[in-house]
């Protein structure tokens, strides 16, 4: 195969998800009545914010060659912490500040610290104790969710202060501020992955951990940072979710893990590690939201969403395998 052909094929493989997104949007716009309008697209972006942020953390850990199944539960715990402390009805304690806007940094900080701590525990068990990341984070996925149910007693907290709700209500160009926070996160972490030493080291550890270690990269430290970041970012996602729903319930965000997982894989991140970039992950999230929106518009019963998501995860892993086969033939 010629060099130029290989280049273009590789370009398509690297950015496959964007082509898929465009194709899916085009098909739905043509086939589903009232799909093609600015409000729908704004809605897709809005829906993508929480899942998108959660996917960033998951992607960082998978790119480094590991796994973090705890992101969904960590997000729920962060949301519940925000709900219990700052919501005014239900089990909420309704803590307020003067001036009132201080609730924004306070709730965010508490959430991120909680998420970072769980991430640090995951990282410690994986990196220092040398336990399998899948098992460690599966355990966290279960016990953190248990903690959410236990602290809330299965009940919910409602009515967050207007100063926080502002972020979900106030719109700029038809899109709420929370969605801009998600986009900012994607821009920031994409920059980190592409332009800084930390990002480069994460990528290389995912590619060949032994080589990175031999070259003097502090593999343990970098992996630890990845797990802490994943926890903290998941907490940020939970905080956004609490703001969006103005509170928290014990089963908030249940099932999001698999959507995040699907988005990351569809977005071009290889489960083998060392491959993938965050812009693609955002496209993966947008793709999922586009499909959800189409299902809603077509009036299919909501149960089918789960069936379709399940098939999407399968399709995503299949796609990953297929891409690896094609790449091998290219090499």
């Amino acid at each position: 195969m010629q060099q130029s052909q290989r280049r273009s094929l590789e370009f398509v493989l690297d950015n496959l998800v964007w082509f898929m997104l465009l194709a899916v949007l085009a098909i739905f716009s043509a086939a589903v009545p009232s799909y093609f309008q600015p409000g729908i697209f704004a809605n897709i972006i809005e829906q993508s914010s929480v899942l998108g942020v959660m996917s960033i953390g998951l992607a960082l850990v998978i790119i480094a060659g590991h796994m973090d199944l705890s992101v969904e539960s960590v997000a729920a715990l962060s949301a519940m912490a925000t709900g219990i402390l700052f919501a005014s009805s239900g089990i909420g304690m309704g803590i307020t500040f003067t001036p009132g806007w201080l609730v924004v940094p306070a709730s965010l900080l508490i959430g991120i610290v909680v998420g970072g701590l769980i991430g640090a525990l995951n990282g410690y068990l994986v990196v220092k104790v040398k336990m399998n990341a899948f098992i460690v984070t599966l355990s966290s996925f279960i016990w953190v969710r248990g903690l959410v149910v236990a602290t809330s007693g299965g009940r919910s907290a409602q009515n967050l202060a207007d100063e926080v709700r502002f972020l979900a209500i106030q719109r700029f160009l038809g899109i709420p501020l929370t969605a801009y926070i998600a986009i900012l996160c994607f821009v920031g972490f994409s920059f980190m992955m592409a332009k800084t030493r930390l990002g480069r080291h994460l990528l290389m550890i995912g590619g060949n951990e032994a080589a990175a270690f031999r070259a003097g990269i502090k593999v343990d430290k970098v992996l630890m940072i990845a797990f802490i970041l994943s926890g903290a970012i998941a907490a940020l996602a939970g905080w956004l979710l609490a703001i969006r729903t103005s509170g928290a319930t014990a089963n908030l965000g249940a099932g999001m893990l698999f959507n995040a997982f699907a988005a990351v894989v569809i977005g071009g991140v290889s489960l083998k590690g060392g491959l993938g970039a965050l812009p693609g992950v955002y496209a993966g999230v947008l793709l999922l939201s586009s499909i959800n929106t189409a299902i809603n518009l077509m009036g299919l019963p909501a149960h089918y969403t789960q069936v379709i998501h399940g098939l999407l995860v399968l399709a995503a892993v299949l796609l990953d395998t297929l891409k690896q086969t094609i790449r091998k033939q290219l090499a």
């Binding site: 480069r200 032994a210 031999r214 070259a215 990269i217 060392g274």
Partner: protein, 258 residues
Amino acid sequence: MTDQLLVLDKVTKNYGAVQALRGVSFSIGKGEVIALLGDNGAGKSTLVKIISGGLEATSGSMHFEGGEFRPKSPSEAKAAGIETVYQDLSLCTNVDVVANFFMGRELTRSMMGIKVLDERRMEEQVAAAMENAGTRIPSLRTKVEHLSGGQRQAIELNRFVHWGGKLVLLDEPFAALGVEQTKRGLQMIRKVAAQGIGVVIITHIMQQAFQVADRMVVIRQGVVAGDVPTKQTNADAVIGMITGETLTGAGPGEGVGE
């Protein structure tokens, strides 16, 4: 003789009751290429690990550039200027040539207080290093997975030449390479040696040893069974030393036996 770079004196290594090395003595000069030969289990790998810091010797001494040398970890040996190229290459195939070249030592520049990778400066330096070594790689931005075995080997060799390695240990570096690639790799080794770097190459293939080495050091049952300049021996004599049939052609007294 050239300046002595590394001198081993009666180095031994015991694994419990098993004596893997029973007193190995030889030396490596600057710019010298030594082929380390021996049958499986002769103790070659143990010896390389002791020099590269992976294992500690039980007794005996090493001197590197005239000073006492006893590395406790690979990073310590690396800091002293000893680089090891392993059988399985130490490259991340998922990133490009430049990223591999600067692995763990990336150059950065400050952009609004944030340290950003300085890709252009890194690429310039890699291009210069590759040109110095006479290695041609079509694009330094190609992912390493698309490069041939020989090109990968060249990257790895150029990498430590660039970073100021003084001694290179190559553990069966051509095990997976084809004829043409091996030939290029051997040329590469001569170029490295011409820059004053000492090279120790472990190989099973006699022909390679004769093509590239200045001196043959044969290890048998944990001792140096032969230490001869390449020009003064031949394949049959070396095979004899490896299998222990004969000691003819063994070096001038130095380091033979205990």
